[in-house]
Symmetry: C2
């Protein structure tokens, strides 16, 4: 097991078959130890520790983020969640701005877009629930939208969109692409600088295994300068004795504290993910999904197209009468059931044995 | 000591004189134990524990908030911080809306207001740095603003504004009052239902002693229905199989997860504050501040007017050359120094001995 090789321990794996990382990722014992260390120091020193920690800790954290995502230090913002980031960001779009998004994408992304006063284009999926990259590109170009919002990996199918391809094709049309990376960061390869993605926002409690309370914004300068961001807080204040001034841009997208406890969890989780990436172990889940597809008898019930290689490392299975979900629950296989669909995800801490347990439960 | 009577322990008090609660409050050992319990359960069960916890835990937490602030269950929203709350809220104001705020109020409140496209009225303080409630009322009425934003307690003077009085006077003029309670919640009396305050937003890491990562929004129905809130996330989604609908209003002000670890800290801290309130111990800090004023030799250096009874439980002292701050640091008295001013705060866990140590340090 990769977790043994790397010396990381996940307690929940001892008592269940955990296939619910698309909902909530597990946190390693090692990350908890770093968080405990933070708590001990804070409780002994209070604000003194926060003041000492602030600058070196955040610099170190941003360096890890820069290495992991292939971006520059100055392109990184820290927020409590994806939702915080996207809602702050949308304050910067003018009303009546033209935006495109995917009709069945995650509501945390589509809801604030649909509530705005934008000129919106909803892009529809194919009949199988998957999206065609070509169709996304064509619709964006033909309608002349200025912003395209989409999740790298779709929460209700597991489809991983080829955002590098979409980015390359839309480059000449000067369309800004904003990506929700919550379902891809930690299980996929992505290089921010090399891509034509203007902005990536993510929560870190799923595949990055950071626990709740931390999120990341990556944003390019050209994109930020096209916005008129209205949000802000103390991080955007340049304190002066007589009158403060405003640090415009990325600083405005980070109003309010992000809990140091949560950021400590993220920092430790990134250490682990940097090691996983070195040995390509972040792609283990994808191989386990392929193994599952090979043995699963009701392949026609899988949302999307299993012959197509565009899944990340989870899938959704139609289960209107909740029979499959019931079987899994009986065998202590943790999963999500929502809207008549079972969702199953495989992460680096899952094993071939987990897939066998799953297949046996389904056949029972 | 009240902490002995109530059986709460704050480790930092053993190694320093902690007068920096206006910056960051201490967290009790007892709150940490509840948080450790959460971590143990999450690490053993992952998402299963989150699913089980979600509803009963948040109901219980909201009941405590309702009791503490005198409001209804349905008027309570949970956010990661004050800044998150105010920025989400401002998405609901129309551009060109008329707003008033205090010129020297905390930048986390004034910055997003000044960055908006509102018709803004800045209300100036008196020469001593304090604000006159009468002047605030007059300026709001004369300029006919629709929204007044102000902090209950001013971060850079310690002045506690009489928001009940301001609210009563502005009631007939149909002006909505939005209060930042970050510097008052946990050290002051306030009853939301009895007041004419439309909305109170706060971070809970200062006087409420909850640690970082939690914030509260209290909002009245009449106020929410006057807004057109644009923010939203999964908490505002009413999941339906074929098409989701939107839970308009307060649910839209709570996009994204608030970390359960942080909410557990808040829940435990509220248990403590409910007990403190029963014995009026939440007002201990105010008495310690009065004791300090009586013994402090350079009373003329205090910002505001020490003859006036309108301080909460902290004060600011002019110290251009950082002499006073240096003396305090030498004696291990934790405080804030910013813009030529020393800030000192007294909370229920401080004692008369702390005031004596402070006076001795100043006289050294």
């Amino acid at each position: 097991m990769i977790t043994d090789t790397l010396n990381y321990e996940f307690l929940a794996l001892k008592s269940c078959t955990y296939l619910n990382t698309p909902a909530t990722g597990l946190v390693s014992k090692e990350a908890r130890e770093e968080q405990q260390n933070y708590l001990r120091n804070f409780d002994r020193q209070g604000s003194t520790y926060i003041d000492e920690l602030e600058y070196p800790f955040k610099s170190d954290l941003k360096n890890k983020i820069a290495t992991y995502f292939g971006c520059h230090f100055g392109q990184i913002g820290l927020v409590p969640s994806f939702s915080a980031g996207i809602n702050y960001l949308l304050s910067g779009l003018y009303s009546l701005e033209s935006v495109a998004y995917l009709k069945t994408d995650y509501p945390s992304l589509t809801l604030p877009l649909s509530l705005g006063t934008y000129n919106s284009i909803e892009i529809a999926p194919n009949e199988d629930g998957f999206y065609s990259e070509e169709k996304i590109i064509t619709q964006c170009v033909e309608t002349g939208v200025r912003f395209l919002f989409l999740s790298h990996v779709q929460y209700n199918s597991g489809q991983k969109l080829d955002i590098e391809f979409i980015g390359a094709k839309l480059k000449a049309h000067e369309i800004f692409i904003i990506v929700d990376s919550t379902q891809s960061a930690g299980n996929s390869d992505f290089n921010f600088s090399k891509s034509n993605i203007s902005c990536a926002i993510m929560s870190c409690y799923k595949w990055l295994n950071a626990g709740f309370g931390s999120g990341i914004i990556l944003a390019k300068e050209s994109f930020l300068s096209a916005l008129d961001i209205k949000t802000g807080g103390f991080t955007a204040v340049l304190w002066k004795e007589n009158s403060n001034t405003v640090d415009r841009g990325l600083a405005q997208l980070q109003p309010g504290h992000v809990a140091p406890f949560a950021l400590t969890g993220l920092s430790s989780a990134l250490d682990m993910h940097l090691k996983l990436k070195e040995s390509n172990a972040h792609l283990i889940g994808k191989n386990l999904l392929s193994q599952f597809f090979e043995s699963f008898p009701q392949i026609e019930n899988i949302v999307g197209n299993p012959d197509n290689d565009s899944y990340a490392n989870f899938c959704c299975i139609r289960d209107k009468e909740r029979k499959l979900s019931g079987k899994l629950t009986n065998k202590n296989i943790v999963h999500t059931y929502r809207n008549g669909v079972v969702r199953l995800g495989f992460h680096f801490y899952n094993t071939e044995e987990d897939v066998e347990i799953l297949i046996n439960a389904i056949s029972s």
